[in-house]
Symmetry: C2
DNA sequence: AACAGAGTTTATAACGTTATAAATTTTCGT
DNA sequence: ACGAAAATTTATAACGTTATAAACTCTGTT
């Protein structure tokens, strides 16, 4: 026999107060006597009262839901280190829940944003892989819908973001390769519609300019290319003889594809080539041959994104929620 | 200026019908004249009417939410191949949304289940890593709360599951090692409270018994051991000289740790040792040296889990939702 | 023309919460 | 002890939906 779920009414009956009073008391409203608030809190605790989300949502219009839009190219470390875990951690105990809305391959990225805002399925939105004039950002700004992006844009109106310093990553990665004696260095970039394409490119080119080494930026492949395509590309790749060639790769799977392609050609890491990788998991700490890598803490990004969206929902300023995360060796 | 969200009332006014009639018409109730149903559907479409989830949830008691509980040890391939992506795919277009509830390290796994069922935050639950007499399963069965597990249990009352055939995986992996001439084979198992510990062990031991090779099952490490611990263990590991030793490893990160530990000792894959790995991502297709691996399609598990929970919610039988997924080379 | 019965539509209430405004009680200065 | 103001509590209505039961409108039979 299941005892019915306690509601405000139950608590009101137990305390002899009106439903309204109980509601206010539990919201800790200063209008209610401190004594009463304590009494109500105690009664609610005893009864195991938990507010009904659906009713609250219907009445207040707030969903208490944050939605994360994930795209299929997102590389994820184990769940414990993932952005989802970080976000969950940030939302824990706040009453906010996390829903995942996938970006399906081949469907416009604006679709989930439309869907969520039109039907008001969340109070805040988080998404990744921003473009220069990201239409999702534009739409949400027009609507005044709270959001934080993982990545920046070139749009005039500022917005909240938590971004990794890809410029610095690429610079340091390139410098490392140059310091190791590479006379020619290359970089695998994401598709050029993304803002982090530019950031990576700038950082890379800064190091190139400073040092005067030769640079190669392949155009027929990118970070999202399937591993086989990357493997083929690097199988045909002409290395400058005599000095090692360096490659910056800001993606683990891609780096693995490149490494396997080059070692399959019997090229030797350290003498024929060097690789500088962005790592988000423990993969490149365990990989042999070991390559130089710089860490991006994705769990931390998730936490940052979570804190930012919560801050915005509490009325925080956009300008206080623009973070650029430093690369860690 | 934002036009207010259309509700049943808006549609009722437009069609000149009562709110109740519109509601019934949109639910396609046979009580409403076919002609009227069409007219209402058309009007709703024109207005861009979408039912309010909060109101439906409050009135019907159904949340239209499926919750996936993820634990920190879950290994995830890229998002496109993940269980979450598979689940999303299965739920797409059904009106069900997916929420993620994490199992935090060090907190009882029953906590999120309690939280979700007590507050009725979902209509169905999906979770992984089942134990023999899993208390989550017991609780949900007592409550009559719909759920599907990724993994089986030893409990008397049958329940819905979608499981990978770990017995067969371990058998085939072990057979492969034996066929390659290993005279001694070992296996890295998950913590022994999980049911798939047994499945893996049985499959492994079946191959051992059939062939009469020596077997080793380390007890001071398991699949959840941190990579450094695994590396240390395999750094001290005494190999039988003369013939290669085989190791079955049902986890990618663990396999990587083992591989690096052994190659750091200058042991040679193929002569000193063989590794047979379970792969869920493209990691071990790209890894060098390349090892034998057997595929577990996690996206497919997600889809299967999704279809099963939907089927249960439509009144489907538990017995029709017990699937064991075959390993693929 | 009356009426049963099917076919169709509608009014009312309720799910659990909170905003608004009104009502009650207490406090305090005179 | 009185009244005004402050402090506290309460009644009412509403968010958008659907279940229940009642009301209306046809049809075809007598």
């Amino acid at each position: 026999m299941v005892r019915k779920k306690p509601t405000l009414k139950t608590v009101a009956e137990k305390t002899g107060l009106a439903v309204t009073t109980v509601s206010r008391a539990l919201l800790d409203s200063p209008q209610i006597a401190l004594e009463t608030r304590k009494r109500v809190a105690e009664a609610a605790r005893e009864l195991g009262y938990i507010p009904d989300r659906a009713a609250q949502r219907l009445r207040t219009g707030r969903t208490k839901v944050i939605s994360l839009i994930l795209d299929p190219h997102n590389e994820i470390p184990d769940f414990g280190r993932s952005m989802v875990a970080g976000l969950s951690y940030a939302l824990k105990g706040t009453g906010y829940h996390l829903t995942i809305t996938p970006d399906f391959e081949g469907e416009p990225t604006i679709d989930p944003v439309n869907y969520i805002t039109r039907n008001h399925l969340a109070d805040g939105l988080i998404f990744t892989r921003t473009e220069y004039f990201d239409e999702r950002v534009k739409l949400l700004q027009e609507l005044g819908f709270p959001f934080v992006t993982h990545g920046r844009t070139e749009l005039a109106t500022p917005h909240a973001y938590w971004d990794y310093d890809n410029e610095e990553f690429a610079y340091r990665a390139a410098r490392h390769l140059i310091d190791r004696g590479c006379q020619e260095i290359g970089i695998v970039l994401p598709p050029d519609r993304f803002t982090f394409y530019q950031h990576l490119r700038y950082g890379f080119m800064r190091a190139v300019r400073e040092s005067g080494v030769a640079s190669v930026i392949p155009v027929d492949i990118d970070l999202d290319s399937p591993p086989e395509v990357l493997r083929e590309h690097f199988a045909d790749w002409q290395l400058k003889p005599g000095t090692p060639t360096g490659i910056v790769c800001p993606g683990e799977t891609s780096a693995l594809a490149i490494s396997s392609s080059l070692t399959d050609r019997r090229l030797t890491p350290g003498t024929d080539f060097h690789l500088a990788v962005k790592r988000t998991s423990s993969l490149f700490e365990l990989h042999r041959p070991s390559y130089f890598s710089i860490y991006e803490n994705i769990f931390e990004s998730g936490r940052g994104l979570g804190h930012s969206i919560l801050n915005l929902l509490e009325g925080g300023e956009v300008s206080n929620n623009q973070t650029i995360q430093a690369p860690v060796m």
